[in-house]
């Protein structure tokens, strides 16, 4: 793992991820206020949200709620959706890719044609349609994201499995009498672990962005449950008067997604020596 420390950007990214995880797990203890709390001094006398200050460190939102507290609890939403949605997407992609690549034949061809079909869908549009018409909740949003994000993993795993199953050592193993289960578990799966790790990381970046986008459009996680996207959704009409309500959550979303991308990219370099130094 020495490669991680050689890259200062990746070290910072790891620290950011650690911070987000800590914020999400410790939100109830770290947050200075309850996320739904509307304290009487949370708005100015004119009823405007408060800019960052001594009492409300990052300011308050249009309902007078503490932004920092909402961001901390929002980290839970984003992280849960990121882990669940991406976990499901990687799992679906792995299963589809392995079955299509190893079994081949009509089953494999059908699965890959279906994957091609999914590639031709405008993913974001599909996610918006599904989320909007399904009465969005946290789990629905996670499921929708998983349903549009497994395709890329399936394609990559398919190509890798196809390549592996045609290699001589698999043929040798089969000649020695090994069954499909043994070949899959002992010889194919270990080679796919790096792919699973890399996409398990990179995919979280995509997922966090997609969740934020859906919530920003109002079809993601529903208020009052805070999510980084719906904090912006709730305050976008005031972005000229209260820019902190849009750009602080925006910076948090960017930092999180960037960190997962950087770490995922570093992992890809470390786990795949042929890519090293090519960026």
């Amino acid at each position: 793992m020495s490669g991680l420390t050689e890259r200062p950007a990746t070290t910072v990214a790891l620290a950011v991820i650690l911070l987000v995880v800590l914020a999400a797990t410790l939100a109830p203890w770290l947050a200075p206020f309850a996320p739904e709390d509307q304290p009487f001094d949370g708005l100015s006398l004119e009823g405007a949200p408060l800019p960052p200050g001594a009492k409300y460190w990052l300011g308050t939102d249009t309902l007078g709620r503490d932004l920092l507290s909402r961001l901390l609890f929002g980290a839970r939403t984003s992280l849960v959706i990121g882990l669940v949605a991406n976990g499901v997407a990687v799992a679906i992609g792995m299963v589809v890719g392995i079955v299509a690549g190893y079994v081949g034949g009509v089953t494999g061809a059908t699965l890959m044609r279906f994957t091609d079909l999914m590639m031709a869908f405008p993913a974001l549009l599909l996610a918006i349609v599904l989320a909007a018409l399904l009465h969005p909740s946290l789990w629905i949003v996670a499921l929708v994201i998983a349903l549009v994000n497994w395709v890329q993993v399936a394609r990559i795993v398919y190509t890798e499995t196809r390549g592996l199953s045609e290699r001589d050592f698999i043929l040798a193993e089969r000649a020695l009498g090994a069954g499909n289960a043994r070949i899959l578990i002992h010889h194919i799966a270990p080679h796919l672990v790096p792919t699973a790790i890399v996409w398990g990381t990179l995919g979280i970046a995509t997922t966090v962005l997609l969740e934020a986008t859906l919530s920003f459009l109002g079809v993601g996680v529903q208020p009052p449950q805070p999510s980084w996207g719906n904090i912006i959704y709730e305050s976008q009409s005031y972005f000229q008067a209260a820019p902190w309500l849009v750009f602080i959550p925006g910076a948090v979303i960017l930092a999180t997604s960037l960190s997962f991308n950087l770490v995922g990219d570093t992992l890809r370099d470390l786990l795949d020596p042929t890519q090293r130094g090519r960026g």
Binding site: A120, P122, V129, L133, L209, N261
Partner: protein, 306 residues
């Protein structure tokens, strides 16, 4: 060659048919009831049933799909439930705006990607290279709607250089195009850099240098054309990405394209418009891939034999 082309076209048609079927089924089984929405809040069960009959939603599902397909074959995408006009006409009226936005966005992407990708490749492992590659990552990790709001805040609300929203003049295009282009430019820069590094290590580049050509000429005339193929392939894929992204960008900037049309239709569960926009978007994606494939042998003669 014509045979391959015919096969690819048949495949594309098959994919579009599949997209139509999947979208149709999805929209049918989703819990939103278009008949109830069209009939309005105060409608009783009888009125909703009447509307359902009028819209043909009480027919058996295969028959509904067949009617939709036969309509499609005649270029008929059905009628909007809410606006009561032809979906095809609504979409055709909106497409030019989206195409303008898409073209401007791709222009920004390719221009930035080329400049910074070449810069990074030529000065490989320098500070500039690392900076460009880090910025590329920032671009691809940015939430589009936040960048849209940030550009609005700085260049429209604060500096007043560009209008807040709308459509019509060149100044209206700048911010939406930058939003689409800035974020995607990172992918192009990374790809141009890696394509250029591959090429710059090849013997013919060394030969060109050895025979006394200037570095600038070698990079621009000998190495760069080799990066054209991945760029064109990427534009083909990008068209698909854009079709999703325009929903967000058009919503923020009030841009009257098909993304906005889709967004309004989604909020009203106006199924025929959602179907139509999804199909048209898929058509764009499939065409983008087809054109990229068709361009490949023209840009790289080595592919022709295969």
């Amino acid at each position: 060659m014509p045979l391959i082309l015919a096969r690819r076209l048949a495949q594309a048609a098959g994919i579009l048919l599949g997209v139509a079927l999947v979208t149709f089924l999805l929209l049918h089984y989703l819990p939103a009831d278009p008949a109830a929405l069209v009939a309005g809040r105060s409608a009783n069960a009888q009125m909703i049933a009447n509307v359902r009959h009028q819209l043909g939603l009480d027919l058996p599902l295969p028959l509904q799909f067949w009617r939709y397909l036969t309509g499609l074959a005649q270029g008929n995408l059905g009628r909007s439930y809410i606006q009561r006009s032809e979906v095809a006409a609504l979409i055709v009226a909106r497409i030019p705006a989206t195409l303008v936005l898409m073209a401007a966005g791709i222009l920004v992407e390719v221009a930035l990607g080329l400049v910074f990708g070449i810069l990074a490749a030529v000065q490989r492992n320098s500070f500039a290279d690392r900076l460009v590659m880090t910025l590329a990552f920032v671009g691809v990790s940015s939430p589009q709607f936040v960048v849209a709001l940030l550009l609005l805040y700085v260049f429209a609300a604060t500096l007043g250089w560009f209008p807040m929203s709308g459509f019509g003049t060149l100044r209206h295009v700048v911010l939406p195009a930058l939003t689409l282009g800035l974020l995607g430019a990172g992918w192009y820069a990374r790809m141009v850099r890696s394509a250029m590094i591959d090429v710059l290590n090849q013997d013919y580049v060394r030969t060109a240098r050895a025979k006394g050509l200037s570095w600038r000429r070698v990079v621009l005339r000998h190495a760069l054309p080799n990066a054209a193929l991945p760029i064109v392939a990427m534009i083909g894929i990008d068209v698909g990405q854009f079709m999703g992204g325009v929903v967000v960008v058009e919503a923020v900037y009030g841009w009257p394209g098909i993304g906005q049309l889709a967004w309004q239709a989604i909020q009203q569960a106006d199924v025929p418009i959602i179907m139509g926009v999804t199909l048209v978007s898929s058509l764009f994606i499939v065409m983008g891939n087809l054109l990229a494939d068709a361009a490949a042998p023209i840009l790289d003669p080595r592919i022709r034999g295969r």
